[in-house]
Symmetry: C3
Subunit: 354 residues, 3 copies
């Protein structure tokens, strides 16, 4: 997307100082911007950069009083941060609007239903009985299995695989190479130590407003559904096992692992690389520090946890402080032991003397 300073001023209801024909094509930080970028000055700490920036256009507050000459065309607005948010939104939409529209080079089963305004990328595969809502973007090379249902306004990025019978709500974003509905890891041990596969015939249900990161894998339930509730946000490379559940608005950072049948409550914040054992229940509002390991359920809402196995956040910090001093502590105990022995012996001697 390329826009002129005049267009930006109009869009933002701002006043323009400088060249109305200055053209910009992308946002940049004020300290990194080059010709053709637009930048912004919100925090006065960054004012020195206003005089050195190479940006073509600079968003500033209406009240901004430059103390030196500056290169960029200025657009003065009431609220720099809101104006910036609006602009980023516009650029993001423009990025998405540019699609590759070659329906003849995708495979859409004749029984599949594709909504109005939904675009299907090249080499995408949409199997029998799948139903996709309106205004979705199915990027190239996506796989959508039999009887999958997808709501409205979803973005399914290249290489995403959604297996048969899974359900995706409205306004969901699934990033590249995510896998929804692969078999859960279910095997029954046999007497001879081999494993027999337990058929995984459930599905995955993802509710509205969910974001799923790149290469994140959400396995289908053995029976029933693996469930990602409304507004949950999952980062990259996460593993969600069969029959697990992630609550409303819960955010999981990258590389988290959730074992089978574990239910994470609403509004939880889970740090990167955290692991959950199976069959746990994690209360609403739980906050877990990165790399922690949950081996048991959390019953009290809004608990903060840390460590592997996890304990209370503050308890962990206090124990870890001592952990770092353990060699000293051990030395001290040995010295105490020695001193006590000496004192004890002297005491015995004194008693004998006495």
């Amino acid at each position: 997307m390329k826009v002129t300073a005049a267009q930006l001023a109009l869009l933002l209801d701002g006043s323009l100082e400088g060249d109305p024909n200055a053209i910009v094509s992308r946002p940049a930080r004020i300290e990194e911007a080059v010709d053709g970028d637009f930048a912004f000055l919100d925090n006065i700490r960054y004012e020195p950069y206003a005089y050195s920036t190479k940006a073509s256009i600079l968003l500033v507050h209406r009240s901004f009083q430059p103390t030196q000459p500056l290169k960029p065309t200025l657009i003065r607005v009431d609220d720099v941060r809101s104006s910036l948010a609006l602009l980023l939104q516009k650029f993001d939409e423009a990025n998405q609007a540019n699609g590759t529209d070659v329906p003849e080079a995708s495979f859409v089963h004749k029984s599949a239903v594709i909504g109005v305004g939904t675009r299907i990328g090249v080499y995408a595969v949409i199997e029998e009985g799948a139903v996709i809502g309106n205004n979705c973007t199915i990027y190239p090379q996506v796989f959508i299995g039999r009887n999958v249902r997808i709501g409205n306004n979803c973005r399914i990025y290249p290489g995403v695989r959604i297996h048969f019978d899974c359900v995706i709500g409205d306004n969901c974003t699934l990033h590249a190479n995510a896998v929804i509905g692969a078999d859960g890891f279910g095997f029954a041990p046999q007497g001879d130590k081999t494993w027999v596969k337990v058929p995984q015939v459930g599905n995955v249900v993802i509710e509205n407003d969910v974001e799923v990161g790149a290469c994140t894998c959400i396995d289908r339930a053995a029976i029933g559904s693996t469930l990602i509730r409304q507004g949950a946000k999952l980062d990259n490379l996460i593993h969600i096992a069969h029959n697990a559940e992630v609550g409303n608005n819960t955010a999981l950072a990258a590389q988290v692992g959730v074992a089978g049948s574990t239910r994470i409550g609403d509004n939880c914040q889970i740090g990167g690389q955290v692991g959950f054992a199976g069959h746990l229940t994690i209360a609403n509002g739980t906050r877990i520090q990165a790399q922690s390991g949950l081996g048991s359920s959390v019953e009290k809402p809004n608990t903060a946890l840390f460590g592997s196995p996890a304990i209370g956040y503050k308890d962990f910090i206090r124990s870890h402080v001592v952990f770092k001093q353990l060699p000293d502590l051990q030395k001290k105990v040995l010295e105490l032991e020695k001193k006590l022995k000496e004192l004890s012996e002297r005491s015995v001697k004194n008693e004998q003397k006495g």
Copy 2:
């Protein structure tokens, strides 16, 4: 797959009570089932649900005596669990049997050999010299490189990449977006701190009856083979480095990482997010708790381990109990130190008095 109660009764050698024309299309838990589902009552704890379930068909024991009226058509069988397993198997087979069969929209090199009953999905690529056995399902968008050999009865899900010269046995399942045979991570450090790539010219050999999870990556050997032995089960997002080996029937939970040349024995059970350093040997039957880190070999078979770095399972539990009490322990030591000092001073004073 849709079946009637009469068909189910016949298949399971069960006796039917209710509507023989009741139709079901999927299994469900008794407490979650809706119209069109079949459910089962195996554990008597769940009996109350039998009277409220919305399932159309319910599998019960021959001896089941309802104490209230119930909605579903009943099918009485000798062994509910076995009947259920059989039914799930049938549904699973039906799920797989529905394929997208469009050979003209895949790329199969003219020198590739494709077995009898093997189906190739849309936009799959099968390169020169590849040999695929009988009754395999190669899903859409799979990549099979030059001279790859795949046995009989394999399922290769969408987006799996198998690089040149790799070998897959019979009855293997590779889940979506798994990568077999990417280059091992081999670089020789140079004097100027840059790295020179060490060519990775070996392959990956996966024996029979192996399952590989979604987005799991098994790197090719530098020279020789990275080896996954018969019956091993690998969950999602696992990393197996070059020249590593996973033993017969060994199960690795999700997000495990195995560094180069490490050999894990037979019948091991490895928890999620466990990491192995390189060049280790792990004895048969080793069990490792989730998130543990193995920095040295395990020589004694059937050992249970925990912690990072891992120690004996029980030892870890005992040490972790004290870890949680470390602030108290430290306080106690400081108090002891103080008391001992006081006692010692008093003792000196007494001696002087004496």
Copy 3:
């Protein structure tokens, strides 16, 4: 690639002993080689294998004096290791040279620019405005988004996704199913505990000579660039968050996670499954043991770290030694407490007596 012993001797400037027409098609370890392999004897420890190996050709030092008869044709060279490296390089090139060249079955936007000698695999997608340099191999099923720029001599393996506006330098290798430039994980918390997505309108810049492992995900910056500097090597299943930076020649082992805006310096060596919190600065030459967790910046170059949260490597080792003895230490403290109490009581008694 198949070569005769005579060809190998010529290539390596070696002298030949045995059958000049012996044919080999792959390298193998001396102890594992079979007919048709070539092996090498560099370390004298392996000499016994020279007499039992089934290799067709064996590379040995010019000075090697066999003490028993041997089967393989010998090629005597000045430096076995260098000769082997050269041979592996030749085999690697031959592996790469075999490509699938079917331009008509890929999608290349008419505005995209493809360099001389660059091959595009089947079902690859190259969108509007993308520019790819010379002598690249774009494997099948790759996705290259709008305005992506790729340098010369790159290998982009099957299923890699490179999103719009990202930049890849010369001589880069991106392994299968890696994802470059998916949205960063940016959400603004709202009063009602829902999240609003922060548009991610920056990009990813990968400099020259970088290798990116299979299923590794490098997210695009919110604004500006996520940056992988020259010569960095990233293993499989790594997560690099938005606006993070990886320094020159820094090597990250598999499953490392780097949170947003963290800058890792040059020449660092990071073990597998290590996690970094956001907004850290890690000094040049830092070495971090596998599974460690970095919660704070590292200011001193060439520091070695271990633990989660990480502390000095040697400090961790010392503390962990005591951790393993914690139950004994606790027992000792309780005993000391008891003894001290006894002594103290006795002392009081003695004073009273006195």
